[in-house]
């Protein structure tokens, strides 16, 4: 029997053949199936079922976390079965320090979304429960798959429930928004499918990520394939100028849809780049680095400026996501350990903070059925607890130290500045073009720190402070116990990651190290050959020492 790479890890971790990750992925689907069999006229049963299903999934993900060895840099806890033998497709799922944080984010947010949906969703609970659980399966599958065909299947599965959630429970212009969302992401996915099939042909019968990454591709092939994969992911992130579907989708989506969309779905774009596009085509990444860096920086600044002029709170938060994911993209493009750790953590942070913001906006919408900033003003007086939570989450969103947002942003900036300045000051002949690009880009990106404070605090002021202008707002009631509990859970996470990020950073540390080891030199070789030589010459003695030690 051939030994696939997944089987090697299977033995290594001693899970004993139990398909833990497959179970994790399938669990929500099982509960969705139960929901399907129950009659639709009992919303209570479906609410309970959805919540229970997502909680069980969450608990199983905790088991995964406890089994996870943070000391290992590569894939672990793998499941590997023959899936469609005729075409050589295998069912391979595995987890590492890149996917685990996002898996945990997904299983953590989904139960919260069910609690948040309690009153936000007022019809068709059965359909909603099924859609949400299928969506969770889609997300988990996409994150855990290391076989490109499996990944593609889950990637497409995610699309349908999201389409339904916006289309069935969305706002007035939901049809336009769903169409845009669907066509846009579908367009990207199809290009990716073409890429996958091309690579499949090259390998001669395997969809495995490892086989794909081991292929020797010409530069031209790399560029085209990177383009195909990256476009799918950039649309998902979304990176400027592919972002316009996002504000529309967010504005029309119901609160639970927005939370999942911002919390997890967008990260699948950045995750895809890190998991697939970059390791498979590092040289092409080197070529595209200046372009992607520019787009990331434009996203940071442009997204913030767009957020500043929005009149709808939800649209504002949507544009703020464009800006925040610009930071994540910046960290990814830089691709050194500091920036990557920051980027991975910032994906989780953004999920928590923006998820919390969308929930908060939803609470207000349920009360007043409007999200226009101008319809509010002075409501901190009527809703002090709500205002306190909102200001707290705002502080996280604008990256105040000791909140989660700071840790991620700080590391991304740290890594980026390091890329731009480290020991280059006295050797201007070394890689000047790339370093200058980085330094200029990062310097522009720092303005995002100020712009973030401007648009968020302006919005907070206009919604919460001043006198109550509208009589309708006099009758607003503060958060209910359910809402308070929901926000408390998120607030604790925000403070926890901000105060003691060590455990969270540790999860991705070894993986990031293992990713940087082979990929960074390959990227650097193209984008800044002189830097590549310098890093290699510096690394050589250290590596020799390490090898000597190992022997």
């Amino acid at each position: 029997m051939e030994t696939t790479f997944a089987q090697a890890w299977l033995e290594l971790n001693g899970v004993g053949g139990f398909p833990l990750l497959t179970l994790l992925t399938a669990l929500p689907l099982v509960f969705a199936a139960i929901s399907l069999m129950l009659p639709g006229d009992q919303p209570g049963a479906h609410k309970a079922l959805g919540f229970a299903g997502s909680i069980v999934t969450f608990l199983v993900s905790m088991v995964v976390w406890s089994r996870f060895d943070t000391g290992l840099g590569h894939m672990q806890l793998a499941d590997d079965f023959a899936w469609i033998p005729g075409i050589g497709a295998r069912w391979t799922m595995a987890v590492d320090g890149l996917s685990l944080p996002l898996v945990l984010l997904t299983t953590f947010l989904t139960p919260l979304v069910f609690v948040g949906a309690w009153s936000a969703i007022d019809k068709r609970w059965k359909e909603f429960t099924i859609a949400m659980l299928v969506l969770e399966t889609g997300m988990l599958g996409s994150l855990l798959a290391v076989d490109l065909l499996v990944f593609y299947v889950f990637w497409e599965i995610m699309l349908v429930p999201m389409y339904l959630i916006i289309g069935l429970w969305g706002g007035k212009a939901r049809i336009y928004a769903t169409l845009k969302f669907f066509i846009y992401t579908m367009f990207g996915s199809l290009l990716m499918l073409v890429g996958i099939l091309y690579l499949y042909g090259k390998t001669g019968g395997s969809f495995s990520l490892r086989e794909f990454a081991a292929l020797h591709l010409t530069d031209k092939e790399q560029l085209w394939l990177f383009g195909a994969f990256a476009l799918a992911f950039l649309i998902k992130v979304p990176v400027f100028p592919f972002h316009t579907w996002l504000p529309d989708a967010h504005t029309e989506a119901p609160t639970p849809g927005s939370v999942i969309l911002a919390g997890v779905l967008l990260k699948l774009g950045t995750y895809g780049l890190l998991r697939f596009a970059i390791p498979m085509f590092p040289a092409a990444m080197g070529t595209f680095s200046p372009l992607l860096l520019s787009l990331a920086v434009i996203g940071i600044v442009f997204g913030a400026m767009m957020a500043y002029v929005q009149t709808d709170v939800k649209r504002l938060v949507a544009y703020s996501s464009v800006s925040h994911l610009g930071f994540v993209m910046l960290g990814i493009v830089i691709y050194n350990e500091e920036a990557l750790q920051g980027a991975v953590l910032q994906m989780v942070n953004h999920g928590l903070s923006t998820g919390a913001l969308f929930l908060l906006v939803g609470f207000l919408y349920e009360r007043r059925h409007t999200r226009e900033i101008a319809d509010f003003g002075g409501i901190a007086k009527r809703m002090p607890v709500y205002a306190a939570f909102f200001v707290f989450v705002t502080m996280s969103s604008i990256a105040l130290p000791l909140t989660n947002g700071f840790v991620g942003e700080f590391l991304i900036f740290g890594g980026s500045f390091k890329e731009g300045i480290h020991s280059a000051m006295l050797q201007p002949e070394t890689g000047i073009a790339w370093r200058t690009t980085v330094l200029v880009g990062v310097s522009i990106a720092t303005s995002g720190i100020v712009l973030g404070a401007i648009y968020m605090l302006s919005m907070v002021r206009r919604v919460f402070f001043g006198a109550i202008g509208k009589p309708e707002n006099e009758a607003l009631h503060d958060l209910t116990l359910r809402e308070k509990l929901l926000m408390s859970v998120l607030a604790v996470m925000i403070a926890w990651i901000g105060l003691v990020p060590g455990g969270f950073l540790k999860v991705s540390e070894a993986t990031v190290h293992a990713m940087v080891q082979p990929n960074r030199p390959a990227i650097l070789q193209v984008r800044s050959p002189l830097d590549y030589q310098r890093e290699q010459s510096r690394r050589a003695p250290a590596q020799a020492a390490e090898e000597a030690k190992a022997e």
């Binding site: 400026m305 500091e338 200001v391 720190i449 404070a453 060590g502």
Partner: protein, 700 residues
């Protein structure tokens, strides 16, 4: 004493945080007394523990002159080569700050129990105030630059919350927002500097580590322009927090907060963080006389400009606010001139007298039912005796008359600004290798690498640098002159404020006068203690007998050693005592002029002057129209550009043309395609005929 109080450091910091959490989460269910008790006790306990740390440090210095206490709580962020710890450092500088922050902090807490006793938001208020103390302690006790930054942004956030404490008033909420955003602009500079320092420090920004790095002249990045850049970026941060030109605009607006907040945050502690930071980083700043000169000149200009605005303001808090900006300018001049100890000394004495002045102003406002306009005051001397006496003492102290606190600290700044100069020899030695490298690059360009030529080039590099440093000397005289003028204005506007408030006849309505009452005991206690400190606080730093009894400056020596090593000072007794006499005369002149003009209330002379020079008067009264300028040049354009970008780029170019465009094109093509098969035989026939005609044309 030999006990080691390191373990007290986290306790000192965490106590106020616990107080803040407790009152913040449960405060609305607790009685006033409980909230007061918790908030005051935590800060008082922190103060007492700080005293223990201070005494412990004194004890430890007997055996080790550069003793300091360090305590690492845990590793905060570690990624790649970067490592940041939550760790505390109590050295001589931190100890001074610790005592000022917890000491003045406690008095303001005590005072607030009287000041806020009618406000329904007491729990929120005390929770914020405790949170502020926590952040400020993180700032002054941080063992590395990242810790300092946590505190730095933390105090900014607390300031935001407290300025906008009465958020129902939109102007107050806007003032809080302005403070936060302007500070954030400074913070970007700070952050960028920290990133550069990370490259220098190989991933660590620990102060102990950085001090070693910047003492080692063989470091790979040592390069004068880089060091200057780092220093200037740090100063951008300091200018934001310590309200220097051009970022000072938030501080006058910050007076929207409750007055005890103005005393604590916007006078005594937070705004001095920039001064503290530069003193802390003296080993870096001292290496770059160019950046230091910029710092000094910005400080001097700020001191003068703010003092001139203070001359004509009519709101009691606005006068004090501009006075604070001006005094912060003095401190910045000090640290820019290399007079770090003098700067920190003035920071401390200023905390006493400006704290007393703000609390006194608050007591007046409290007594007069929220009247802040000094044109409607006057004659309060007899009605409010405690407030009056404490206010008068603090006014004398800030005016700089001997032997009160402000005299000694301000005099030290003026004298050392004039007397110090950078030790170019030592600084040039530090940059030795970098001169050599630059020279080598230039000589190599000549394609003639010979040793003699190289030596000449190195010397040329070095001489050019030394010359550029020596050329800076003139600026010290300019800064001195500006400061002396500002000192005169200070004496004048402070006593204008004093006379208009307390002397002459009362000019407000009689209902208010009848109900005016002197400060209740918590407020009076704070006032008396601070006034007492304003009186005697300067005596720890007197220059007499060649600084023999200058305990304060000696105390700070271990921290400032490296910075002072890079300085030359030529302080002769003649200069010393001559300057003392001069600054006393200047202050006395200012006081006398104010007495002459305002002892009986607003004078005709003042009104005439204002009419005669209405152009200048209006400019001063309207603060040189700086806010208006920023509004036109920064705020509105940002909004307009964003709006235009949204409409044009986002909606039309990206969304309509690039995203939906292809869809419409496809739709258009499809429509055209549909025309081709519309089922009408005539159309088809026309097509056939045209086709044949075309074919015929080509074939024939």
């Amino acid at each position: 004493m030999t006990y080691n109080p390191s373990a007290l450091l986290p306790v000192i910091v965490l106590l106020p945080l616990l107080g803040a959490l407790f009152n913040g989460l449960l405060g609305s269910r607790l009685s006033r007394q409980t909230v007061y008790a918790i908030s005051n006790t935590t800060v008082l306990a922190s103060f007492l523990l700080s005293v223990m740390v201070f005494l412990g440090l004194r004890g430890a210095m007997v055996t080790a002159p550069d003793a300091a206490f360090r305590y690492t709580l845990y590793e905060w962020i570690a990624a790649g080569s970067y490592k940041f710890e939550i760790a505390f450092l109590a050295d001589q500088l931190s100890a001074v700050m610790l005592l000022v922050v917890t000491g003045v902090g406690f008095l303001v807490h005590l005072y607030s129990t009287g000041y806020m006793h009618e406000d329904p938001g007491y729990a929120r208020y005390f929770s914020y105030l405790n949170l502020f103390i926590f952040s400020m302690l993180m700032l002054v006790l941080g063992k590395n630059l990242a810790m300092l930054f946590i505190g730095w942004e933390g105090v900014g956030a607390c300031s935001y919350l407290l300025i906008g404490f009465w958020f129902k008033d939109m102007d107050k909420a806007a003032a809080g927002q302005k403070a936060f955003i302007v500070n954030r602009i400074g913070d970007v500079g700070f952050l960028a500097a920290m990133m550069l320092l990370l490259a220098y420090g190989n991933g660590s920004v620990d102060f102990d580590h950085l001090r070693v790095v910047f003492s080692d002249s063989a470091h790979m990045l040592d390069h004068a322009p880089t060091v200057t850049l780092i220093a200037l970026l740090l100063f951008v941060g300091a200018a934001g927090k310590s309200a220097q030109i051009p970022l000072y605009i938030w501080l006058p607006d910050a007076m929207a907060g409750p007055t005890p907040v103005s005393a604590l945050i916007h006078a005594a502690t937070m705004v001095t963080a920039g001064v503290y930071m530069i003193a802390r980083m003296n080993f870096l700043f001292a290496l770059t006389p160019h950046a230091m000169t910029v710092v000094m000149m910005v400080g001097a200009t700020t001191a003068l400009v703010a003092a001139s605005i203070g001359l004509v303001q009519n709101d009691i808090k606005k006068v004090l606010a501009y006075s604070t900006v001006s005094q912060l300018g003095f401190m910045i001049v000090a640290v820019g001139a290399g007079a770090y100890a003098a700067g920190v000394f003035h920071l401390m004495t200023h905390a006493f007298f400006k704290g007393a002045l703000f609390l006194g102003a608050g007591a007046v406002i409290h007594a007069l039912h929220h009247e802040q306009d000094i044109r409607k005051m006057g004659g309060l001397k007899k009605k409010l005796p405690i407030i009056h006496w404490t206010f008068l003492i603090s006014c004398i102290a800030i005016a700089g008359l001997p032997p009160l606190a402000g005299f000694f600290s301000k005099d030290a700044i003026l004298a050392e600004t004039l007397a110090f100069r950078p030790n170019t020899e030592k600084i040039a030695t530090y940059y030795g290798e970098s001169f050599e490298r630059q020279a080598r690059v230039k000589v190599m360009a000549d394609k003639a690498p010979d040793q003699a030529k190289l030596a000449v080039a190195v010397k040329a590099e070095r001489d050019a640098y030394v010359k550029s440093v020596e050329d800076l000397a003139i600026w010290r005289k300019v800064a001195f002159a500006l400061c002396l003028l500002a000192a005169f204005m200070t004496a004048f506007y402070m006593f204008r404020l004093y006379f208009l408030t307390f002397s002459g006849d009362y000019r407000g309505d009689h209902h208010t006068w009848d109900h005016a009452h002197d400060a209740p005991w918590p407020m009076a206690t704070a006032l008396v203690l601070l006034a007492f400190l304003s009186f005697v606080g300067g005596w720890v730093g007197t220059p007499f007998f060649h600084n023999q009894f200058n305990f304060f400056f000696h105390w700070l020596e271990p921290v400032l050693a490296r910075g002072e090593e890079l300085l030359d000072g030529h302080m002769t007794p003649a200069l010393e005592y001559g300057l003392m006499a001069a600054s006393t005369v200047v202050a006395a002149l200012g006081v006398t002029l104010a007495w002459w003009m305002y002892r009986k209330g607003p004078s005709e002379l003042g009104a005439n002057l204002a009419n005669r020079m209405s152009f200048i008067y209006d400019a001063l009264l309207n603060k040189y129209y700086v806010d208006e300028f920023y509004d036109r040049v920064v705020v509105r354009p940002l909004r307009a550009v964003s709006q235009a970008a949204f409409q044009v780029i986002d909606r039309i170019i990206v969304d309509l043309v690039m995203v939906r465009g292809p869809g419409y094109v496809l739709l258009g093509v499809s429509h055209a395609g549909r025309l081709l098969q519309n089922g009408e035989v005539q159309t088809y026939l026309v097509g056939v005929v045209l086709g044949i005609a075309l074919l015929a044309y080509y074939l024939v």
